[in-house]
Protein backbone atom coordinates (compact mmCIF):
# COMPACT_ATOMS: atom_id res chain seq x y z
CA UNK A 1 0.00 0.00 0.00
CA UNK A 2 1.17 3.52 -0.72
CA UNK A 3 0.12 7.02 -1.65
CA UNK A 4 1.21 8.07 -5.13
CA UNK A 5 1.83 11.77 -5.77
CA UNK A 6 2.23 13.05 -9.31
CA UNK A 7 4.59 16.01 -8.98
CA UNK A 8 4.42 17.99 -12.20
CA UNK A 9 7.40 20.04 -13.41
CA UNK A 10 7.65 23.03 -15.69
CA UNK A 11 10.60 22.87 -18.08
CA UNK A 12 12.43 20.63 -15.66
CA UNK A 13 11.75 22.76 -12.58
CA UNK A 14 9.36 22.32 -9.71
CA UNK A 15 7.40 25.13 -8.17
CA UNK A 16 5.48 25.73 -4.97
CA UNK A 17 2.54 23.74 -6.31
CA UNK A 18 4.74 20.64 -6.64
CA UNK A 19 5.88 21.05 -3.05
CA UNK A 20 2.27 21.48 -1.87
CA UNK A 21 1.39 18.17 -3.52
CA UNK A 22 4.33 16.41 -1.88
CA UNK A 23 3.55 17.91 1.55
CA UNK A 24 -0.08 16.90 1.19
CA UNK A 25 0.60 13.39 -0.08
CA UNK A 26 3.13 12.75 2.69
CA UNK A 27 0.54 13.78 5.28
CA UNK A 28 -2.17 11.58 3.74
CA UNK A 29 0.27 8.65 3.77
CA UNK A 30 0.91 9.28 7.47
CA UNK A 31 -2.83 9.21 8.13
CA UNK A 32 -3.02 5.83 6.39
CA UNK A 33 0.08 4.51 8.17
CA UNK A 34 1.97 4.13 4.94
CA UNK A 35 4.45 6.07 2.85
CA UNK A 36 4.25 8.28 -0.20
CA UNK A 37 5.87 7.60 -3.56
CA UNK A 38 6.47 10.65 -5.70
CA UNK A 39 6.24 10.29 -9.46
CA UNK A 40 8.02 12.77 -11.69
CA UNK A 41 7.49 12.62 -15.43
CA UNK A 42 9.92 14.39 -17.73
CA UNK A 43 13.54 15.45 -17.81
CA UNK A 44 14.18 16.63 -14.28
CA UNK A 45 17.72 16.61 -12.92
CA UNK A 46 18.44 14.67 -9.71
CA UNK A 47 19.37 17.89 -7.95
CA UNK A 48 15.91 19.31 -8.68
CA UNK A 49 14.23 16.03 -7.71
CA UNK A 50 16.02 16.01 -4.38
CA UNK A 51 14.35 19.34 -3.52
CA UNK A 52 11.14 17.35 -3.01
CA UNK A 53 12.89 15.77 -0.02
CA UNK A 54 12.49 19.06 1.84
CA UNK A 55 8.75 18.45 1.94
CA UNK A 56 8.70 14.86 3.13
CA UNK A 57 9.48 12.91 -0.05
CA UNK A 58 11.56 9.79 0.50
CA UNK A 59 10.97 7.68 -2.56
CA UNK A 60 10.95 9.36 -5.95
CA UNK A 61 10.28 7.63 -9.24
CA UNK A 62 11.69 9.55 -12.16
CA UNK A 63 10.20 8.65 -15.51
CA UNK A 64 11.94 10.02 -18.56
CA UNK A 65 10.37 9.15 -21.87
CA UNK A 66 10.22 11.40 -24.92
CA UNK A 67 6.72 10.16 -25.76
CA UNK A 68 5.57 12.12 -22.71
CA UNK A 69 7.01 15.47 -23.79
CA UNK A 70 3.54 16.41 -25.04
CA UNK A 71 0.68 16.42 -22.57
CA UNK A 72 -1.55 13.72 -24.03
CA UNK A 73 -4.31 12.77 -21.63
CA UNK A 74 -4.45 9.14 -22.78
CA UNK A 75 -0.71 8.51 -22.65
CA UNK A 76 -0.33 10.16 -19.23
CA UNK A 77 -3.32 8.24 -17.89
CA UNK A 78 -1.90 4.93 -19.09
CA UNK A 79 1.48 5.64 -17.51
CA UNK A 80 0.20 6.87 -14.15
CA UNK A 81 -2.29 3.99 -13.93
CA UNK A 82 0.46 1.47 -14.62
CA UNK A 83 2.71 2.93 -11.95
CA UNK A 84 -0.14 3.30 -9.44
CA UNK A 85 -0.91 -0.41 -9.77
CA UNK A 86 2.75 -1.36 -9.53
CA UNK A 87 3.13 0.74 -6.37
CA UNK A 88 -0.16 -0.60 -4.97
CA UNK A 89 -1.32 2.97 -4.50
CA UNK A 90 -4.49 3.37 -2.47
CA UNK A 91 -4.58 7.13 -2.88
CA UNK A 92 -3.34 9.13 -5.85
CA UNK A 93 -2.70 12.85 -5.39
CA UNK A 94 -2.65 15.15 -8.43
CA UNK A 95 -2.92 18.92 -8.82
CA UNK A 96 -6.29 20.44 -9.71
CA UNK A 97 -4.69 22.53 -12.46
CA UNK A 98 -5.15 22.13 -16.23
CA UNK A 99 -2.79 19.16 -16.33
CA UNK A 100 -4.43 17.40 -13.40
CA UNK A 101 -7.91 18.04 -14.75
CA UNK A 102 -7.00 16.40 -18.04
CA UNK A 103 -5.57 13.26 -16.42
CA UNK A 104 -7.29 12.60 -13.08
CA UNK A 105 -10.83 11.92 -14.41
CA UNK A 106 -9.51 9.47 -17.01
CA UNK A 107 -7.47 7.78 -14.29
CA UNK A 108 -10.63 7.54 -12.21
CA UNK A 109 -12.37 5.53 -14.94
CA UNK A 110 -9.28 3.47 -15.73
CA UNK A 111 -8.81 2.41 -12.09
CA UNK A 112 -12.47 2.60 -11.09
CA UNK A 113 -11.29 5.04 -8.43
CA UNK A 114 -13.58 7.65 -6.88
CA UNK A 115 -12.32 11.18 -7.34
CA UNK A 116 -12.43 14.14 -4.99
CA UNK A 117 -11.55 17.14 -7.13
CA UNK A 118 -10.49 20.57 -5.95
CA UNK A 119 -9.92 19.30 -2.42
CA UNK A 120 -8.60 21.95 -0.06
CA UNK A 121 -7.94 20.10 3.21
CA UNK A 122 -6.56 16.81 4.46
CA UNK A 123 -9.16 14.01 4.42
CA UNK A 124 -11.53 14.44 7.36
CA UNK A 125 -11.29 10.70 8.00
CA UNK A 126 -9.75 7.74 6.21
CA UNK A 127 -12.38 5.13 7.13
CA UNK A 128 -14.77 6.14 5.71
CA UNK A 129 -12.57 8.19 3.38
CA UNK A 130 -14.07 11.68 3.37
CA UNK A 131 -12.64 14.73 1.62
CA UNK A 132 -13.64 18.37 1.76
CA UNK A 133 -14.20 20.14 -1.53
CA UNK A 134 -15.54 23.33 -2.99
CA UNK A 135 -19.13 23.20 -4.25
CA UNK A 136 -21.71 25.60 -5.62
CA UNK A 137 -18.88 27.74 -6.94
CA UNK A 138 -17.60 28.60 -3.48
CA UNK A 139 -21.01 29.19 -1.92
CA UNK A 140 -20.66 25.89 -0.08
CA UNK A 141 -18.27 23.03 0.65
CA UNK A 142 -19.10 19.35 0.37
CA UNK A 143 -17.91 16.50 2.55
CA UNK A 144 -17.52 13.81 -0.06
CA UNK A 145 -17.11 10.14 0.75
CA UNK A 146 -14.90 8.27 -1.71
CA UNK A 147 -16.13 4.68 -1.63
CA UNK A 148 -13.82 2.81 -3.98
CA UNK A 149 -10.71 0.81 -3.12
CA UNK A 150 -8.39 3.31 -4.84
CA UNK A 151 -9.09 7.03 -4.37
CA UNK A 152 -7.96 10.04 -6.35
CA UNK A 153 -7.58 13.50 -4.88
CA UNK A 154 -6.93 16.59 -6.96
CA UNK A 155 -5.59 19.30 -4.68
CA UNK A 156 -6.63 22.93 -5.05
CA UNK A 157 -3.62 25.18 -5.60
CA UNK A 158 -2.41 27.30 -2.66
CA UNK A 159 -4.84 25.59 -0.27
CA UNK A 160 -2.40 23.48 1.69
CA UNK A 161 0.52 24.90 3.65
CA UNK A 162 3.94 23.51 2.88
CA UNK A 163 5.32 21.19 5.55
CA UNK A 164 9.08 21.23 5.70
CA UNK A 165 10.43 17.90 6.87
CA UNK A 166 13.86 17.43 5.30
CA UNK A 167 14.59 13.90 4.10
CA UNK A 168 17.20 12.01 2.21
CA UNK A 169 15.55 10.93 -1.00
CA UNK A 170 16.03 7.80 -3.04
CA UNK A 171 15.63 8.45 -6.73
CA UNK A 172 14.76 5.50 -8.92
CA UNK A 173 14.47 5.53 -12.68
CA UNK A 174 11.02 4.31 -13.64
CA UNK A 175 9.80 2.81 -16.88
CA UNK A 176 6.34 2.44 -18.31
CA UNK A 177 4.72 0.95 -21.36
CA UNK A 178 4.44 4.03 -23.50
CA UNK A 179 5.57 5.00 -26.97
CA UNK A 180 4.72 7.61 -29.59
CA UNK A 181 1.96 5.49 -31.13
CA UNK A 182 -0.11 6.06 -27.98
CA UNK A 183 0.17 9.83 -28.23
CA UNK A 184 -2.85 11.12 -30.17
CA UNK A 185 -2.33 14.82 -29.45
CA UNK A 186 -0.33 16.73 -32.04
CA UNK A 187 0.94 20.15 -31.01
CA UNK A 188 1.09 22.46 -34.02
CA UNK A 189 1.98 25.71 -32.34
CA UNK A 190 2.96 27.03 -28.90
CA UNK A 191 2.64 30.61 -27.74
CA UNK A 192 4.19 31.05 -24.37
CA UNK A 193 5.06 34.03 -22.26
CA UNK A 194 8.09 33.26 -20.21
CA UNK A 195 9.29 35.00 -17.11
CA UNK A 196 5.86 36.36 -16.20
CA UNK A 197 4.36 35.45 -12.85
CA UNK A 198 1.30 33.32 -13.50
CA UNK A 199 -1.96 34.50 -12.04
CA UNK A 200 -2.72 31.06 -10.61
CA UNK A 201 0.73 30.89 -8.98
CA UNK A 202 0.69 34.40 -7.52
CA UNK A 203 0.42 34.80 -3.75
CA UNK A 204 -0.69 38.39 -4.17
CA UNK A 205 -3.13 39.49 -6.86
CA UNK A 206 -4.17 43.07 -7.65
CA UNK A 207 -7.35 43.10 -9.67
CA UNK A 208 -9.22 45.91 -11.38
CA UNK A 209 -12.88 46.30 -12.25
CA UNK A 210 -15.09 48.77 -14.03
CA UNK A 211 -14.37 51.29 -11.27
CA UNK A 212 -10.97 51.78 -12.91
CA UNK A 213 -13.01 53.70 -15.51
CA UNK A 214 -10.67 53.30 -18.49
CA UNK A 215 -7.94 50.94 -19.75
CA UNK A 216 -5.63 53.95 -19.64
CA UNK A 217 -5.80 54.01 -15.85
CA UNK A 218 -4.06 50.67 -15.29
CA UNK A 219 -0.50 51.94 -14.76
CA UNK A 220 -0.77 52.44 -10.97
CA UNK A 221 -2.51 49.09 -10.55
CA UNK A 222 0.32 47.32 -12.38
CA UNK A 223 2.86 49.28 -10.35
CA UNK A 224 1.22 48.22 -7.11
CA UNK A 225 1.21 44.57 -8.21
CA UNK A 226 4.90 44.80 -9.16
CA UNK A 227 5.83 46.43 -5.86
CA UNK A 228 4.08 43.65 -3.95
CA UNK A 229 5.56 40.93 -6.14
CA UNK A 230 2.11 40.02 -7.32
CA UNK A 231 0.17 39.44 -10.51
CA UNK A 232 -2.56 41.54 -12.09
CA UNK A 233 -6.12 40.39 -12.72
CA UNK A 234 -9.45 41.88 -13.70
CA UNK A 235 -13.20 41.40 -13.53
CA UNK A 236 -15.33 40.03 -16.36
CA UNK A 237 -16.64 43.35 -17.74
CA UNK A 238 -13.07 44.59 -18.01
CA UNK A 239 -11.95 41.56 -20.05
CA UNK A 240 -15.17 41.59 -22.11
CA UNK A 241 -14.53 45.24 -22.99
CA UNK A 242 -11.02 44.31 -24.04
CA UNK A 243 -9.44 46.64 -21.49
CA UNK A 244 -7.34 43.75 -20.26
CA UNK A 245 -6.50 40.32 -21.76
CA UNK A 246 -8.89 37.40 -21.14
CA UNK A 247 -6.18 35.49 -19.26
CA UNK A 248 -6.53 38.04 -16.44
CA UNK A 249 -10.25 37.47 -15.87
CA UNK A 250 -10.89 36.05 -12.40
CA UNK A 251 -14.37 34.86 -11.53
CA UNK A 252 -16.72 31.99 -12.02
CA UNK A 253 -16.23 31.75 -15.77
CA UNK A 254 -12.63 32.94 -15.72
CA UNK A 255 -9.77 31.82 -13.53
CA UNK A 256 -10.40 30.55 -10.03
CA UNK A 257 -7.64 31.89 -7.80
CA UNK A 258 -6.80 31.50 -4.13
CA UNK A 259 -3.91 33.85 -3.34
CA UNK A 260 -2.91 34.90 0.16
CA UNK A 261 -3.97 38.44 -0.68
CA UNK A 262 -6.49 39.60 -3.29
CA UNK A 263 -6.81 43.35 -3.74
CA UNK A 264 -10.04 44.21 -5.58
CA UNK A 265 -9.94 47.72 -7.01
CA UNK A 266 -13.16 49.16 -8.37
CA UNK A 267 -14.86 45.75 -8.34
CA UNK A 268 -18.37 45.66 -6.91
CA UNK A 269 -18.22 41.97 -6.06
CA UNK A 270 -21.01 40.25 -8.00
CA UNK A 271 -21.66 36.63 -6.96
CA UNK A 272 -19.97 35.44 -10.16
CA UNK A 273 -16.81 37.40 -9.38
CA UNK A 274 -16.67 36.23 -5.77
CA UNK A 275 -17.06 32.63 -6.95
CA UNK A 276 -13.61 32.90 -8.48
CA UNK A 277 -11.81 34.66 -5.65
CA UNK A 278 -13.57 33.75 -2.41
CA UNK A 279 -10.94 31.18 -1.46
CA UNK A 280 -8.35 33.98 -1.15
CA UNK A 281 -6.98 34.12 2.39
CA UNK A 282 -7.40 37.89 2.63
CA UNK A 283 -9.39 40.22 0.43
CA UNK A 284 -8.89 43.98 0.35
CA UNK A 285 -11.59 46.02 -1.36
CA UNK A 286 -11.26 49.55 -2.71
CA UNK A 287 -14.55 50.90 -3.99
CA UNK A 288 -16.45 54.20 -4.08
CA UNK A 289 -19.71 52.51 -3.03
CA UNK A 290 -19.65 51.66 0.67
CA UNK A 291 -22.58 49.26 0.16
CA UNK A 292 -20.87 47.24 -2.60
CA UNK A 293 -21.08 43.48 -1.89
CA UNK A 294 -17.29 43.18 -2.19
CA UNK A 295 -17.00 44.69 1.32
CA UNK A 296 -18.93 41.71 2.72
CA UNK A 297 -16.27 39.37 1.38
CA UNK A 298 -13.33 41.63 2.30
CA UNK A 299 -11.44 41.80 5.59
CA UNK A 300 -10.08 45.24 4.83
CA UNK A 301 -11.72 48.01 2.89
CA UNK A 302 -11.21 51.54 1.70
CA UNK A 303 -14.18 53.57 0.50
CA UNK A 304 -12.72 55.78 -2.17
CA UNK A 305 -11.92 56.32 -5.82
CA UNK A 306 -9.23 54.04 -7.26
CA UNK A 307 -7.58 56.91 -9.10
CA UNK A 308 -7.00 58.74 -5.81
CA UNK A 309 -6.35 55.78 -3.50
CA UNK A 310 -3.88 53.82 -5.64
CA UNK A 311 -1.11 56.46 -5.76
CA UNK A 312 -1.28 56.86 -1.98
CA UNK A 313 -1.23 53.11 -1.50
CA UNK A 314 1.83 52.86 -3.75
CA UNK A 315 3.61 55.52 -1.65
CA UNK A 316 2.71 53.64 1.53
CA UNK A 317 4.05 50.34 0.15
CA UNK A 318 7.26 52.01 -0.99
CA UNK A 319 7.72 53.53 2.44
CA UNK A 320 7.00 50.23 4.20
CA UNK A 321 9.47 48.41 1.95
CA UNK A 322 12.04 51.15 2.46
CA UNK A 323 12.28 52.13 -1.19
Amino acid sequence: MSVLVFAENWDGKFKKLSFELVSYGTKVAEMLGTSATILSIGNVADEELSKLGNYGAKKILSLKNDALNILDSQAYTAVIAEIALKEEAKVIVISNNNTGKSIAPRLSVRLKAAIGSGVSKLPLSTSPFVVYKRAYSGNAYANLELKSDIKIITLAQNSFDLIETPNQVSIEAAAANVDNSMVKTKVNDVQKQTGKLLLTDAEIVVSGGRGMKSPDNWTPLVELADLLGGATACSRPVSDEGWRPHEEHTGQTGKIVAPNLYIAVGISGATQHLAGVSSSKYIVAINTDKDAPIFEAAQYGIVGDAAKVLPKLIEAVKEAKGR
Binding site: W10, D72, S73, Q74, T77, N98, K101, S102, A104, P105, R106, S108, V109, K112, I115, S117, R134, A135, Y136, S137, N139, A140, Y141, A142, N143, L144, E145, K147, K184, T185, N188, D189, V190, Q191, K192, K196, L198, E203, L228, D240, H246, E247, T253, T271, Q272, A275, Y282, I283, V284, A285, A298, Q299, Y300, I302, V303, V309, K312, A316, E319, A320
Partner: protein, 249 residues
Protein backbone atom coordinates in the same frame (compact mmCIF):
# COMPACT_ATOMS: atom_id res chain seq x y z
CA UNK B 1 -19.80 16.09 -39.15
CA UNK B 2 -22.01 15.93 -36.09
CA UNK B 3 -21.45 17.64 -32.78
CA UNK B 4 -22.77 16.56 -29.39
CA UNK B 5 -22.84 18.95 -26.45
CA UNK B 6 -23.29 17.54 -22.93
CA UNK B 7 -25.38 19.84 -20.78
CA UNK B 8 -25.94 19.92 -17.07
CA UNK B 9 -28.91 21.48 -15.29
CA UNK B 10 -27.75 23.84 -12.52
CA UNK B 11 -29.25 26.45 -10.21
CA UNK B 12 -29.06 29.97 -11.62
CA UNK B 13 -25.66 31.39 -10.64
CA UNK B 14 -27.20 34.10 -8.46
CA UNK B 15 -29.12 31.54 -6.35
CA UNK B 16 -28.82 31.86 -2.60
CA UNK B 17 -27.45 28.40 -1.79
CA UNK B 18 -29.25 26.62 1.06
CA UNK B 19 -29.53 23.01 2.16
CA UNK B 20 -32.18 20.79 3.75
CA UNK B 21 -32.35 17.36 5.43
CA UNK B 22 -29.60 18.08 7.90
CA UNK B 23 -27.44 19.78 5.26
CA UNK B 24 -27.35 16.72 3.03
CA UNK B 25 -29.53 18.00 0.19
CA UNK B 26 -29.63 21.17 -1.86
CA UNK B 27 -32.77 23.18 -1.13
CA UNK B 28 -34.34 23.71 -4.54
CA UNK B 29 -37.31 25.70 -3.24
CA UNK B 30 -37.90 28.61 -5.59
CA UNK B 31 -34.71 27.94 -7.53
CA UNK B 32 -34.43 28.86 -11.21
CA UNK B 33 -32.65 26.16 -13.22
CA UNK B 34 -30.40 26.99 -16.14
CA UNK B 35 -28.00 25.35 -18.54
CA UNK B 36 -24.61 25.18 -16.83
CA UNK B 37 -22.81 28.37 -18.03
CA UNK B 38 -19.83 26.56 -19.56
CA UNK B 39 -22.06 24.02 -21.32
CA UNK B 40 -24.05 26.94 -22.68
CA UNK B 41 -20.86 28.46 -24.11
CA UNK B 42 -19.96 25.07 -25.60
CA UNK B 43 -23.39 24.91 -27.23
CA UNK B 44 -22.99 28.46 -28.53
CA UNK B 45 -19.68 27.57 -30.17
CA UNK B 46 -21.17 24.40 -31.69
CA UNK B 47 -24.00 26.47 -33.21
CA UNK B 48 -21.57 29.11 -34.51
CA UNK B 49 -19.62 26.36 -36.25
CA UNK B 50 -22.80 24.88 -37.72
CA UNK B 51 -23.83 28.31 -39.02
CA UNK B 52 -20.65 28.58 -41.03
CA UNK B 53 -21.22 26.40 -44.09
CA UNK B 54 -17.52 25.77 -44.68
CA UNK B 55 -17.25 23.72 -41.47
CA UNK B 56 -19.53 21.01 -42.80
CA UNK B 57 -21.28 20.56 -39.45
CA UNK B 58 -24.63 18.90 -40.13
CA UNK B 59 -26.20 18.84 -36.72
CA UNK B 60 -25.81 19.78 -33.07
CA UNK B 61 -27.33 17.45 -30.49
CA UNK B 62 -27.45 17.98 -26.73
CA UNK B 63 -27.26 15.18 -24.18
CA UNK B 64 -28.36 15.37 -20.58
CA UNK B 65 -28.48 12.99 -17.63
CA UNK B 66 -31.47 13.82 -15.47
CA UNK B 67 -35.12 13.18 -14.69
CA UNK B 68 -38.08 14.56 -16.65
CA UNK B 69 -38.10 17.64 -14.42
CA UNK B 70 -34.97 18.90 -16.20
CA UNK B 71 -36.68 19.01 -19.60
CA UNK B 72 -37.26 22.79 -19.47
CA UNK B 73 -33.46 23.20 -19.48
CA UNK B 74 -33.19 20.87 -22.48
CA UNK B 75 -35.94 22.84 -24.25
CA UNK B 76 -33.88 25.98 -23.63
CA UNK B 77 -30.95 24.37 -25.46
CA UNK B 78 -33.26 23.45 -28.32
CA UNK B 79 -34.67 26.98 -28.38
CA UNK B 80 -31.15 28.40 -28.67
CA UNK B 81 -30.66 26.23 -31.74
CA UNK B 82 -29.71 22.62 -30.95
CA UNK B 83 -31.35 20.26 -33.46
CA UNK B 84 -32.34 17.48 -31.11
CA UNK B 85 -31.66 16.09 -27.65
CA UNK B 86 -31.01 12.91 -25.73
CA UNK B 87 -32.09 12.65 -22.10
CA UNK B 88 -30.90 9.75 -20.00
CA UNK B 89 -33.65 9.20 -17.53
CA UNK B 90 -31.90 9.01 -14.16
CA UNK B 91 -31.01 11.24 -11.24
CA UNK B 92 -27.31 12.21 -11.45
CA UNK B 93 -25.48 10.65 -8.50
CA UNK B 94 -21.82 11.41 -9.09
CA UNK B 95 -19.51 12.21 -11.99
CA UNK B 96 -18.60 8.56 -12.57
CA UNK B 97 -22.22 7.45 -12.81
CA UNK B 98 -23.14 10.38 -15.09
CA UNK B 99 -20.16 9.76 -17.38
CA UNK B 100 -20.90 6.02 -17.54
CA UNK B 101 -24.48 6.74 -18.60
CA UNK B 102 -23.39 9.19 -21.30
CA UNK B 103 -20.71 6.82 -22.58
CA UNK B 104 -23.18 3.95 -22.82
CA UNK B 105 -25.47 5.98 -25.07
CA UNK B 106 -22.59 7.34 -27.16
CA UNK B 107 -21.34 3.83 -27.94
CA UNK B 108 -24.26 3.50 -30.31
CA UNK B 109 -24.20 7.00 -31.76
CA UNK B 110 -21.86 8.59 -34.26
CA UNK B 111 -20.64 12.01 -33.22
CA UNK B 112 -17.38 13.47 -34.47
CA UNK B 113 -16.92 16.13 -31.83
CA UNK B 114 -18.22 16.01 -28.27
CA UNK B 115 -18.10 19.18 -26.20
CA UNK B 116 -18.38 19.47 -22.43
CA UNK B 117 -18.05 22.55 -20.23
CA UNK B 118 -15.04 22.60 -17.91
CA UNK B 119 -17.13 22.18 -14.77
CA UNK B 120 -20.67 22.41 -13.50
CA UNK B 121 -21.32 25.42 -11.32
CA UNK B 122 -22.93 23.24 -8.63
CA UNK B 123 -20.53 20.36 -8.10
CA UNK B 124 -17.37 21.99 -9.51
CA UNK B 125 -15.92 18.62 -10.40
CA UNK B 126 -14.23 19.22 -13.78
CA UNK B 127 -14.44 15.50 -14.40
CA UNK B 128 -17.37 14.27 -16.51
CA UNK B 129 -16.01 15.16 -19.98
CA UNK B 130 -12.67 13.40 -19.54
CA UNK B 131 -14.37 10.44 -17.89
CA UNK B 132 -16.67 9.94 -20.88
CA UNK B 133 -13.59 10.04 -23.12
CA UNK B 134 -11.88 7.34 -21.08
CA UNK B 135 -14.98 5.12 -21.07
CA UNK B 136 -15.09 5.38 -24.88
CA UNK B 137 -11.33 5.32 -25.46
CA UNK B 138 -11.53 8.68 -27.27
CA UNK B 139 -8.81 11.33 -27.11
CA UNK B 140 -9.70 14.29 -24.89
CA UNK B 141 -8.33 17.79 -24.76
CA UNK B 142 -8.84 19.90 -21.63
CA UNK B 143 -8.75 23.67 -21.04
CA UNK B 144 -9.93 24.33 -24.59
CA UNK B 145 -10.45 28.03 -25.33
CA UNK B 146 -10.79 27.83 -29.10
CA UNK B 147 -12.25 25.42 -31.63
CA UNK B 148 -12.28 25.81 -35.40
CA UNK B 149 -12.82 23.51 -38.34
CA UNK B 150 -10.49 23.91 -41.29
CA UNK B 151 -10.68 21.59 -44.30
CA UNK B 152 -12.63 19.10 -42.25
CA UNK B 153 -10.09 19.07 -39.42
CA UNK B 154 -10.66 20.39 -35.94
CA UNK B 155 -8.12 22.97 -34.82
CA UNK B 156 -8.08 23.19 -31.05
CA UNK B 157 -6.56 25.88 -28.87
CA UNK B 158 -5.81 24.83 -25.31
CA UNK B 159 -4.55 26.89 -22.39
CA UNK B 160 -1.29 25.88 -20.78
CA UNK B 161 0.51 27.57 -17.91
CA UNK B 162 1.55 30.96 -19.24
CA UNK B 163 0.31 30.48 -22.78
CA UNK B 164 -1.61 28.60 -25.41
CA UNK B 165 -1.06 25.60 -27.64
CA UNK B 166 -2.72 24.82 -30.95
CA UNK B 167 -3.30 21.09 -31.07
CA UNK B 168 -5.12 18.49 -33.12
CA UNK B 169 -6.40 15.04 -32.25
CA UNK B 170 -8.14 12.46 -34.43
CA UNK B 171 -11.97 12.33 -34.42
CA UNK B 172 -14.05 11.39 -32.61
CA UNK B 173 -12.72 13.34 -29.65
CA UNK B 174 -13.96 15.17 -26.59
CA UNK B 175 -13.05 18.80 -25.96
CA UNK B 176 -13.51 20.19 -22.46
CA UNK B 177 -14.10 23.86 -23.04
CA UNK B 178 -13.70 27.00 -20.96
CA UNK B 179 -13.53 30.77 -21.24
CA UNK B 180 -12.77 32.02 -24.71
CA UNK B 181 -14.62 29.25 -26.57
CA UNK B 182 -17.47 31.65 -27.30
CA UNK B 183 -18.07 35.20 -26.16
CA UNK B 184 -21.69 35.50 -25.13
CA UNK B 185 -24.21 32.69 -24.84
CA UNK B 186 -26.99 32.87 -27.41
CA UNK B 187 -30.39 34.08 -26.37
CA UNK B 188 -33.39 32.15 -27.61
CA UNK B 189 -35.58 34.11 -30.02
CA UNK B 190 -39.35 33.64 -30.12
CA UNK B 191 -39.05 31.61 -33.30
CA UNK B 192 -36.54 29.29 -31.63
CA UNK B 193 -38.77 28.86 -28.62
CA UNK B 194 -41.69 27.90 -30.86
CA UNK B 195 -39.55 25.49 -32.87
CA UNK B 196 -38.12 23.90 -29.71
CA UNK B 197 -41.58 22.62 -28.79
CA UNK B 198 -41.59 20.24 -31.71
CA UNK B 199 -37.94 19.18 -31.68
CA UNK B 200 -37.27 15.62 -30.55
CA UNK B 201 -36.02 14.70 -27.10
CA UNK B 202 -35.04 11.06 -27.17
CA UNK B 203 -35.46 9.54 -23.71
CA UNK B 204 -33.08 6.68 -22.94
CA UNK B 205 -33.42 4.45 -19.89
CA UNK B 206 -30.27 4.25 -17.75
CA UNK B 207 -27.94 1.30 -17.28
CA UNK B 208 -27.30 0.00 -13.79
CA UNK B 209 -24.13 1.53 -12.45
CA UNK B 210 -23.11 2.50 -8.94
CA UNK B 211 -21.73 5.89 -8.02
CA UNK B 212 -18.23 5.78 -6.52
CA UNK B 213 -18.70 8.76 -4.25
CA UNK B 214 -21.40 10.38 -2.17
CA UNK B 215 -21.80 13.78 -0.56
CA UNK B 216 -22.33 13.10 3.15
CA UNK B 217 -23.04 16.73 4.00
CA UNK B 218 -22.69 20.29 2.79
CA UNK B 219 -21.25 23.16 4.78
CA UNK B 220 -21.48 26.90 4.28
CA UNK B 221 -18.16 28.60 3.57
CA UNK B 222 -16.34 29.75 6.69
CA UNK B 223 -17.76 33.10 7.71
CA UNK B 224 -15.38 35.96 7.17
CA UNK B 225 -14.63 38.53 9.82
CA UNK B 226 -16.36 41.87 9.38
CA UNK B 227 -14.57 44.27 7.08
CA UNK B 228 -12.21 46.70 8.78
CA UNK B 229 -12.43 50.05 7.04
CA UNK B 230 -9.39 52.25 6.59
CA UNK B 231 -9.59 55.96 5.83
CA UNK B 232 -9.05 56.67 2.12
CA UNK B 233 -6.67 59.48 3.09
CA UNK B 234 -4.50 57.14 5.10
CA UNK B 235 -3.77 53.91 3.15
CA UNK B 236 -0.62 53.59 5.24
CA UNK B 237 -2.79 52.08 7.93
CA UNK B 238 -3.90 49.40 5.48
CA UNK B 239 -0.31 48.46 4.69
CA UNK B 240 0.42 48.20 8.43
CA UNK B 241 -2.56 45.89 8.90
CA UNK B 242 -1.49 43.72 5.98
CA UNK B 243 2.04 43.54 7.36
CA UNK B 244 1.37 43.07 11.04
CA UNK B 245 -2.11 41.64 11.39
CA UNK B 246 -2.71 39.59 8.24
CA UNK B 247 1.03 39.06 7.65
CA UNK B 248 0.56 38.68 3.93
CA UNK B 249 2.99 41.30 2.61
Amino acid sequence: MKILVCISNVPDTTTKVKFTDNNTKFDSTGVQWVINPWDELALTRALELKDSASTGIQSVTVAHVGPASSEPTIRKALAIGADDAIRINTEPADAYQVAAQLAEVLKNEQFDIILCGIESSDFNGSTVGSMVAEFLGYPSVSAVSGLNIENGNAIITREIDGGKETVSVPSPFIAIVQKGIAKEPRIAAMRGIMQARTKAIKVVEPITIDALSEVTSFEPPQPRAKCIFVDAENPKQLIELLQNQAKVI
